[in-house]
């Protein structure tokens, strides 16, 4: 049956073409693997392109006292010690080399006076550590990786969506999907698969994330038998735009605060003095987001329900040079000149700390042949990610996953895929066209978003989480009757109907994990359990599939070696 569909064979198939996917592809090609990259959008449009503030790497170009140990300590403290220590260590150690590599591939970072890569301050980082290009660092990074991959000659399947992973026994054997342009199905045979599909922000209405961020990669892995971890930790970025309505949630880079931006409430009070007097605006994101939320809830919010963020005390030319896209974004979309007055900002769903549970060194998931990297993988960031640690994560663990996937492919014979899996993949995709009546996916998506915003937001409580689980169950039932109008040709409604299943899966994992974690830590704040619990400091929630039932169990956090424990004690 496979010959009914266009079929391609690769040693390594990479799903997702953001920073992690592209870096994995480059590394796998460097190992002489035959690599295919699949992405839902055009090449170069993945979410990495929207990253603004910078890449965290302890290069010590500006603050010479910085080194990997301090970066490691900052990352662990920012993650409230739920991070996998080994990932945090590798990340801190390898990030500088990964950044240098970008420069050697043609990236042009802002410079210090003595000709090195310039670094700026960011929340939770002890030193000035973020290598940047104004406020468009992600664009520089994705273009550099894209050019490198193109020059190495990778095969890119643009606007192609994967809907199912295929297996040969217990092992990953490929993937099934369709071309968005014409709706035709496509089969990939692959010895190993790297998932680099990012997060799940689209399950909330107020988000900095694009339409692609639906947790589809997590769902693919989960359905194939892989485990997820730390799903209760969803980062709410403290500063999204709040007005006008169409731009609500759009990211306002942390670099505004890194460059000296000040937060005030409507009374003009610099409220961070109350919540974190030492670090003020450069506290970690979980703290700043909760602070803004609390100010608004207690009646001290701005006209449109946010806080004021002001950088206008800096010279106008400086602001335009260091924050050019923020300047344009506010001027053109909100009629605000940020060199003259404050922006209105509020929390926006931004990043998924949880994801596929992987081996720290290789990014290997629990299913043989399956790897994950970047936002789709769990472990590095623990309960809260520091700004700038995502772009470095993509590079460090993208490379590691690409390397391991290529090596794994070398050891693996050509996989065999039975036709039943492909037939099932085809059937489930076509079903929504065959229903005479049913609901539009847009309505179900809207209802899921409302439910998540209201019930699984910044502050959580038992009853609301239970209610959210009930909502998700009801939405799953409605999904069984979803109907798609029109043809298979470039049909966003069809695609959403597929993506919604992934969002429902991911939000169920978030909600179940959040219910179990009866404490507040990092991005997870329980009104009914407002304090740290030392028992929960030592365990991660792990989500797995048992038939149609989602299971969550606790696994002990991997024990840190004594010398690293010492490091943390020293306050390094």
């Amino acid at each position: 049956m496979t010959d009914r569909f266009e079929t391609h064979e690769h040693d390594v198939l990479i799903i997702g073409a953001g920073g992690a996917g592209l870096r994995a592809a480059i590394e796998a090609m460097a190992q002489d693997a035959n690599v295919g990259v699949v992405c839902k959008s055009l090449l170069g449009k993945a979410h990495t392109v929207m990253a603004e503030g910078g890449i965290a790497a302890a290069m010590a170009n500006v603050d010479t006292a910085d080194d990997w140990r301090t970066h490691f300590g900052d990352t662990m403290r920012g993650g409230k010690f739920l991070n996998h220590w080994r990932m945090a260590q590798l990340h801190a150690q390898e990030a500088p080399e990964r950044v240098q590599e970008l420069e050697q591939w043609g990236a042009l970072f802002d410079r210090t006076a003595d000709g090195n890569i310039l670094q700026r301050a960011f929340g939770g980082h002890t030193f000035k550590r973020l290598c940047h290009v104004g406020d468009r660092t992600g664009l520089e990074m994705i273009r550099t990786l894209q050019d490198r991959g193109v020059a190495m000659g990778f095969d890119v399947y643009m606007e192609c969506a994967i809907t199912r992973l295929l297996k040969d026994g217990d092992r990953i054997a490929g993937a099934f999907g369709y071309w968005r342009e014409n709706g035709r199905f496509i089969v990939f045979k692959a010895k190993s698969v790297v998932i680099a599909t990012g997060g799940i922000g689209k399950a909330w209405p107020v988000t900095s994330n694009s339409w692609e961020y639906t947790g589809d990669g997590l769902s693919l892995a989960y359905n194939a038998g892989a485990e997820l971890q730390d799903m209760e930790f969803v980062q709410v970025h403290p500063t999204g735009m709040v007005w006008p309505p169409g731009v609500r949630g759009l990211l306002v880079t942390e670099a505004v605060r890194g460059e000296g931006g000040i937060l005030r409430n409507k009374l003009g009070e610099r409220f961070m003095e109350k919540y974190d007097p030492r670090r003020m605006e450069l506290s970690t994101r979980d703290v700043v987001a909760r602070s803004i939320y609390t100010e608004v809830r207690e009646g001290r919010g701005t006209e449109h329900g946010g806080a004021y963020l002001d950088i206008s005390h800096k010279p106008a030319e400086y602001v335009k040079r260091k924050l050019p896209s923020m300047y344009h974004q506010f001027k053109e979309l909100a009629d605000v000149d940020i060199t003259q007055g404050p922006m209105e900002v509020g929390p926006t769903f931004h990043y998924t700390m949880g994801g596929i549970r992987v081996d720290a060194e290789t990014g290997a998931a629990s299913v043989p042949g399956l790897f994950a990297a970047g936002e789709a993988a769990a472990g590095l960031h623990g309960a809260n990610r520091l700004g700038g640690n995502s772009l470095s994560d993509l590079l460090v663990f993208g490379r590691r996953a690409g390397l391991a996937a290529a090596e794994d492919a070398k050891r693996t014979p050509a996989p065999v895929i039975d036709d039943a899996q492909i037939a099932a993949g085809e059937r489930e995709m076509l079903a929504p066209f065959e229903r005479e009546e049913g609901e539009s996916a847009y309505e179900i998506h809207h209802d899921l978003q409302q439910s998540m915003q209201k019930l699984v937001g910044i502050f959580r409580v038992e009853e609301e989480l239970q209610q959210a689980l009930g909502d998700i169950e009801a939405l799953n039932e409605r999904m069984a009757r979803v109907r798609v109008e029109g043809s298979r040709m470039f049909n966003p409604g069809w695609h959403l109907a597929w993506d919604l299943r992934a969002m429902l899966r991911a939000t169920e994992a978030v909600t179940r994990s959040a219910l179990l974690r009866r404490e507040s830590r990092g991005a997870h704040s329980r009104i009914d359990y407002p304090n740290y619990d030392p028992v929960w400091e030592r365990q991660n929630n792990v989500v797995s599939r048992n038939g149609d039932v989602m299971r969550v169990r606790q696994e002990p956090v991997t024990e840190m070696p004594p010398e690293l424990k010492e490091l943390l004690k020293e306050g390094k």
Binding site: G44, Q104, L108, G246
Partner: protein
């Protein structure tokens, strides 16, 4: 108050504009209106978008005949007393509705040799030297400059001419302080730089305000002229050739 969006619906075999009424909200952009239509009236309306913040360059289209990013085009800047025409970019083949086949751009891109550092360079660069290259690297590949360039739009010289986007890319490589490759022959022979007669249409539509003509294309044209058409250099090359010919 409602606005009317007159959106092209169709594919490569043809189509027609269809009117949709959309309620106006403060600060609304054209892409918001298109999303409203998808959610309420036409769930299969095809459109590309990602960031919604003019950072990814996906939602290029023609709004009332002007090439624009839909995420950056405010409804309140348009005359709402008549329908707002939203059509796909004209210079590329339509796939469906507002989505066009831009794959040609990706093929052209492959012709350009990547950054290659000069042998033995020291990895030091100064802000004054990277400033002008950083301007080119702001490009978000929205392809609006390609869409509006008359060499492509009116004369369809896609075989001979790379278009402004790729002159911007080449300029970024050629002016990189540490790059060691020359792409002038490529510009002249393969990328068809000579077709550009600097009408600046590309510069006008660039959402990133890159001075495509002045800062990228004209300096590249000068490099080609210097290398291939400079009378003194031409003489020098001829003499060198003669000398080399005698030597063999």
């Amino acid at each position: 108050m409602d606005a009317v969006l007159r959106v092209f619906r169709g594919d490569k075999d043809g189509g027609a504009a269809v009117d949709y009424a959309v309620p106006i909200a403060p600060g609304m952009v054209v892409l918001d209106a298109v999303h409203y239509i998808q959610a309420h009236q036409a769930p299969d309306l095809a459109v590309r978008w990602n960031c919604k913040a003019a950072k990814c360059g996906s939602c290029s289209a023609e709004v009332n005949g002007r090439p624009r990013l839909m995420c950056k085009t405010r409804m309140d800047a348009l005359p709402l007393d008549k329908p707002i025409a939203v059509s796909p970019m004209k210079s590329f083949p339509v796939i469906k509705d507002l989505v066009t086949d831009v794959s040609w751009n990706y093929r052209v891109n492959k012709k350009i040799p990547p950054f290659q550092p000069r042998a033995g360079v020291e990895w030091k660069m100064y802000q004054r030297d990277v400033d002008r290259v950083q301007e080119f690297r702001k490009c978000i590949e929205c392809f609006l400059c390609q869409n509006v360039c008359h060499v492509l739009r009116d004369h369809d010289k896609k075989e001979e001419f790379a278009g402004p986007r790729f002159f911007v890319r080449v300029a970024g490589l050629e002016m990189h302080p540490l790059d060691g490759v020359s792409r002038t022959a490529l510009l002249k022979d393969e990328l068809g730089l000579g077709y550009c007669n600097i009408t600046k249409c590309c510069t006008e539509v660039c959402p990133e305000d890159i001075h495509i003509t002045d800062n990228a294309i004209i300096p590249l044209k000068e490099r080609v002229v210097d290398e291939y058409y400079d009378p003194v250099l031409k003489m020098v090359r001829r003499i060198r050739k003669m000398v080399a010919g005698r030597a063999t």
